[in-house]
Amino acid sequence: MSNASAVLDMPEQGFAGLETREAHAWFGNHHALSGVSLRFPAKSVTGLIGPSGCGKSTYLRLLNRMHEFIPNSAMAGEVLLHGDDIYGESVDPAAIRLKVGMVFQKPNPFPAMTIRENVISGLKLAHIKIDNENDLVEKCLTRAGLWKEVKDRLDASGGSLSGGQQQRLCIARSLAVEPEVLLMDEPCSALDPGSTLRIEETIKELAEKITVVIVTHNMQQASRVSDYCAFFLSDGGPGVLVEADQTRKMFTNPTDTRTADYVQGKFG
């Protein structure tokens, strides 16, 4: 099985500064991800697609140093942010996570906090001083597409919202620390179709300012939302990157036959 080294045509905005070189990941002795090299384009949405179990989520967690929380995990290769290896010796992982944020699959606002407190929780956790709390809360909730619905009940509990609203609150919370990159691990898979579409709109708006990397199972979602796609596959062994290109090209005229089979629904 050959690994494609993805040289994506960078858009005019250029390179996002985030790339991996020959990244590997292990869980104990199980080799989960093999030799992924990818450079992410700036201010756009890159979708990581592929059948389940191919290491997409594992790869995502390498990017913001969340992989190491799993017991007995290991990695190899380099993950570079603006040229510096984030796994370097004196690197503070928390600082990396401020620049590379993450939204999880299941919406999880902090239950013991109000909506307002949820939004600024990231800044409190990082001990960052807040100059104007109200402005910040409004800005983040607007960017997440939630402001109009909650602006009159900012002091309500975070758990009082619907599933889609909770996920947008989580997005707002991640935006508050002003990351350069936002990683999203199947953010819509626990939501109904209506909420899903609204969040996809939000994602496209977010991508005007920051880089978004989204893992998705849903090919239609990938074609709706992403500008670029990276296709992961595993043949029983570790997951590898098969092909990465602009979304339009991946879905209409992919280079690799396996990609063509997947996007046509022949497996997965």
Binding site: M66, R97, G101, F104, F110, A112, G122
Partner: protein, 319 residues
């Protein structure tokens, strides 16, 4: 066409002979347990009511406990100091035990490496199994030497604080030392419950804290502690229940004196259980009834604490 509403049919359960015998035996067994345990409760209640109707509320608030064999002098039974003593010693125990339990539970769950965690878990279970007698033995023979130094330190440096004021130089068998020994008995229970609750904190919430750039303490403060709050309270109350009813350890460590005192560093104090233990031997039947009533009061106290505790604990562990 007329649609007739269906008529529900009775579904009888007719037990076979064998089943009837079986059910009879099992029910008899359960009822026997019920009767035995209920007997105790009602016996205590009856005696308690008897004494209360005789002495009124003074039984709890009165300060004198004297039994008299003479016809001329009336006996007086007031368990006030003992009740207060029980509460004081248990409170001291909880004050020490709860922070240590929270810290211990957090340490095991979040800070300890794999092998250390397994060893500490095992140690925790063992500690919960150690009988009170051994705590008392250790308390009087080993711990008192330390405890009295600390008590002395508190009395000499912080003696202006009314609780720490002392008259004599003798700190060894004080409520403070007894409270410390009780604390070490309470800690295993409370730590186990706290740890159980903390381990149920949803993993995604903790991960989110890290993903937002927080530190380990940030994650604990933001998510784990609020989540585990009620569970820890339940565990603390379970521990309190144990402390309130404790007899032997307190008896061995504390210098028993039947009067009110809030000087926790002074070598005197008491609790209800020790009262019963010391006085039962040579008591008149009148005093015996009073002792039973005292036991009833103690039982009510531990019962209410345990009931509250178990509702809280079952509610939080059922999440």
């Amino acid at each position: 066409m007329n649609i007739v509403a269906p008529v529900k049919r009775e579904m009888h359960v007719v037990h076979s002979r064998g089943d009837k015998v079986f059910r009879g035996i099992v029910t008899a067994g359960a009822l026997t347990s019920l009767i035995i345990l209920g007997l105790i409760g009602s016996f205590l209640f009856a005696r308690g009511a008897q004494v209360f109707s005789q002495y009124g509320l003074k039984f709890i608030t009165g300060t004198n406990w004297s039994s008299s064999l003479d016809e001329g002098i009336a006996s007086e039974f007031g368990m006030g100091p003992m009740l207060v003593g029980t509460i004081i010693v248990s409170t001291i125990a909880l004050l020490f035990a709860v922070p240590m339990s929270i810290a211990g539970a957090l340490y095991i769950e979040f800070y300890a490496a794999g092998r250390v965690r397994r060893i500490l878990s095992g140690l925790l279970d063992l500690a919960a199994a150690i009988p009170s007698l051994i705590f008392g033995l250790w308390g009087i023979q080993v711990f008192t030497n330390f405890g009295q130094n600390w008590a002395e330190f508190l009395a000499t440096r912080l003696g202006w604080f009314p609780l720490f004021n002392t008259i004599s130089d003798n700190y060894g068998r004080s409520p403070f030392v007894a409270g410390c020994v009780l604390a070490s008995m309470v800690v295993p229970i409370t730590t186990s419950v706290a740890r159980e609750v903390y381990s149920r904190t949803p993993r995604e919430l903790i991960d989110t804290c890290y993903a937002l750039g927080g530190s380990k303490w940030g994650a604990i403060k933001t998510v784990v502690l609020p989540f585990g709050k009620s569970g820890v309270v339940g565990g603390a109350m379970l521990g309190l229940g144990r402390a309130l009813g404790e007899t032997v350890a307190v008896y061995l460590v504390l210098n028993l004196n039947f009067r009110y005192t809030f000087r926790i560093l002074e070598s005197e104090g008491g609790n209800v259980a020790s009262l019963i233990a010391t006085r039962f031997g040579e008591s008149t039947s009148e005093e015996l009834t009073a002792l039973v009533a005292a036991g009833f009061v103690l039982f009510l106290l531990t019962l209410s604490v345990n009931m509250v505790a178990s509702t809280i604990v079952t509610r939080t562990t059922r999440k």
